[in-house]
Symmetry: D2
Subunit: 292 residues, 4 copies
């Protein structure tokens, strides 16, 4: 459920909502905004005709809105309950707090931190967590706290508890696995359901699991890909947020695929982070609705 | 202005509208639909922040709608006038009537007729017009009337009058130039403003005018493209609907560029025709808003 | 082994060859051509560093070549045997003879016949084979023999014998399965090894088997693809020739994926046919080397 | 003309050569290598059929080559002169020395330095030159000398002299303009002909000159692009090395185009630098031959 922090007047509210489809939903929701003085600046909706489920993203200006942001959730709850909706409310004035988990590869972290630095993401990054110290200089260059939690083979549970404590201390909303080479426990995954974004270095569902570039090389594919998805308890089976592919040829060695794939991984993960930071992603069972 | 033909009950109405931006537009328009028993199945809107202009496409089910389709235009007019809107209303039960103009190249016509035959476009094609008889067998294969209006150099005005008469007789809504290799007169262009779609064989604004593939070859570009746009009185300057590009190399001769470009032309023109047939394109000055 | 038919003087010879890698191969092979008066117009080579195997495609002008084409194979054999090579020789003056197998979907056949008609493929198509009569009008339009061999469930062996007899009568070099919806027997596959090109409507190895678009819809992927490959005895596991992908969204139904995928299937299969017709494909175990 | 530095035994030699086309060129050149004990590891050639000019890139192993690298140029010269060739010889053991010119935008420099750090380019970067001090911290992070040469409006000639002196002191082979926002003098351009790579933020020849993203916005294009090219005395008219494009929509503001375009600029410039660092680019008049 959404947590509300008072924000400076101005800015926009963003409502993400899904519910069983019925007549008049767009009208009811836009009316809710309009009657309270909000000006809709963006509205996108989708009906899944198979599941008969309705999805909407509405963004409106709070400039002349009659309800203070800290009361908005309460004001909206009755309508949401009437619709049987899953929903969340965010304010552009209150940035999401995002932690990044990494291991030794630097390309995804590099990409995220650079984009963050030039202002592409409306998020705060209070914390980077790693099982190795290698990327500390990169974190330092961008002035972000870098916390090493070593994994020794038999301390996984304790390590995850330490990570969880850190995420709580830093009031983290969601987590990005930027080529974090460890499998998370079901308990951790369940706790952070819908809030952990991973990058897998293949066009899923092809080449699940380890060494996808070697698998791709051995199969002799003419395209490789990368996939950003939410983590679930089944490896590489979570709802897909974003994918992209690039052509390769018989000339490309495994090392070439890794090099070309790095560019895909960086771009695909960055797009997913951008989409989530702008509250554009809804879950639809094992799939996503992305209002881009 | 929209012409209304009574349709069988059922189907959807599609409203395309643009007007100066103001507070509450989405709410007002969705309320108009909801209060009359319409169920919105698709809504997409856009605000041009520079021109402060609002654009919307609303599609709703007529199943339990309280107003018969032949009265809908009248019923909506007061609200439209209050908003100072440009607008049109279409019904999915009434297909647009589209004429295709061709010369000698068959690839774009082939593509349109095949897609039409497999049901990709919700249009009728009552007529193909050409200044050459070459493509008659293709028209015959698909059972579509093929009318030759030869151009002799000094009969352009008479030829266009004859074409205009044909378009009127066949109650044509809009025209597709499928590699029609003739320049239309300003009078014809003005009369059919916003209703003639062309395919140009370059990524405009590069390589305006004749022989764009030769121009591309001589410039040594590494990508070529195709552009679908509305015709205006200035050659190749009309509002762009759709574009695409493909990589080429130093190995490609002019003939190779022509061959590769043909695939782009076919796909880009087909996408534009599909978009327009589904009432997804609005004009915004010299640009388009495409609700895809 | 290559079969040689006397050709008109002029034209080019194309040698496709692979052998264990060793020093001086390019020099030896280009010397063979040069010493006999041939002028190399295209040469492309590749060394698989893992398998230590050498691949080459050499194309040379026969204009002043000292050996008549019908003696070239004999003249080259000693060098080929010294190298332990697999090889084939083709002449641009002697077109490959290609049969197309179809069922009911017309898009791939349409694409191949149209491209063939405008001269994109240097092949002859003496024959179309189908288990249904539906596409006969299309074959008729292009003036190509259309032979129906119905499949009744228990006549597969007899049907394949009939097909094989037809292929022999028409002196067919290789076969294209243009959305032919039947599995071929291991005996047929073995007999035509490396000479049957299929189009599968997914980006292999994702979505092997039936209904790949439905599989893609249910997995919620953001890209779909198509794959052209040589047929082997394992379903959808043959060496990949060409692939391509296109972006899709949550708005795309299964029907939309089928529609979008059709465009990929057409283009990917056409590219594979073009590549094979120009003798640009070599097998490398379960993979291909494509000299594009 | 190539300058030769003794290299450690081992590594490869790379010959880039173009000359008027004639019979037997591949044979003569591969023979030159073979007779001296070289093993060709890569060979790519192209004949421009319009200009009747031959282009080749040959790479061979020096492991058992009979000529020491510092004598190779002399040994090859007689054959080159016989062919009337333009040519250069490089050794993989001797990295090119590349200077980067920047102004205030960091994205291209960031991309180049990161790729350089992970080993994607076989070059040395002894020097970064800028007319502003802003990017010094980035240069420092990667440990590369950063030299500021301020431009005051009337010191251009002196500034270019200072830059030229620096390039000479640091023995620079070629220069990358990584969004260097200054026009270079004809004298500088002439002196460094074929050795200065620029990135232009449009798909040339569209949107030459300043503010191409604003031009693209105003024209309403549906794709934007980036182009890497060699600098010549005519602005944005130099031989194109590499281009790429990305789709945009009516929703994209000028700021969005700038953001999306940044990703293109980074990737396109990085590819061009990689291609040139591997000696894969030949000039063909106002065009390039790129052996990728």
């Amino acid at each position: 459920m959404p947590s509300l922090t008072p924000v400076a007047s101005g800015g926009n509210a963003v409502l993400l909502l899904s519910c069983p489809d019925r007549r008049g939903l767009v009208s009811m929701l836009s009316q809710f905004v309009f009657e309270r003085g909000g000006n809709i600046v963006d509205l996108d909706e989708h009906v899944d005709p198979v599941e008969r489920r309705f999805f909407i993203r509405i963004s409106w200006s709070l400039e002349e809105f009659s309800i203070p942001d800290y009361e908005l959730e309460e004001a909206f709850r009755p309508l949401a309950e009437e619709l049987g909706a899953e929903w969340s409310l965010r304010f552009t004035g209150r940035k999401s707090r995002v932690a990044v988990f990494v291991s030794r590869y630097d390309h995804c972290l590099q990409e995220l931190l650079w984009r963050h630095a030039v202002g592409e993401f409306q998020i705060d990054i209070p914390l980077i967590v790693s099982n190795h110290p290698d990327l500390r200089p990169l974190a330092d260059h961008y002035g972000i706290l870098f916390q090493v939690i070593p994994l020794t083979g038999d301390n996984r549970a304790a390590a995850e508890e330490e990570a969880t404590a850190l995420l709580e201390v830093h009031d983290v909303d969601w987590v990005v696995l930027a080529r974090y080479m460890q499998v998370l426990s079901p308990a951790f995954v369940e706790r952070w359901k819908g809030r952990v974004i991973n990058i897998h270095h293949s066009f899923l569902p092809a080449f699940v699991g380890g060494n996808p570039y070697r698998q791709a090389y051995e199969r002799g594919v003419k395209i490789i890909g990368a996939t950003s998805h939410f983590i679930t308890s089944e490896l590489d089976q979570g709802p897909i947020i974003e994918q992209d592919t690039v052509r390769v040829t018989h000339r490309d060695s495994v090392a070439d695929l890794i090099r070309r794939g790095r560019d895909l991984e960086r771009l695909v993960l960055a797009r997913a982070v951008r989409l989530h930071s702008e509250h554009r992603i809804l879950l639809n069972g094992s799939k996503t609705v992305v209002f881009d």
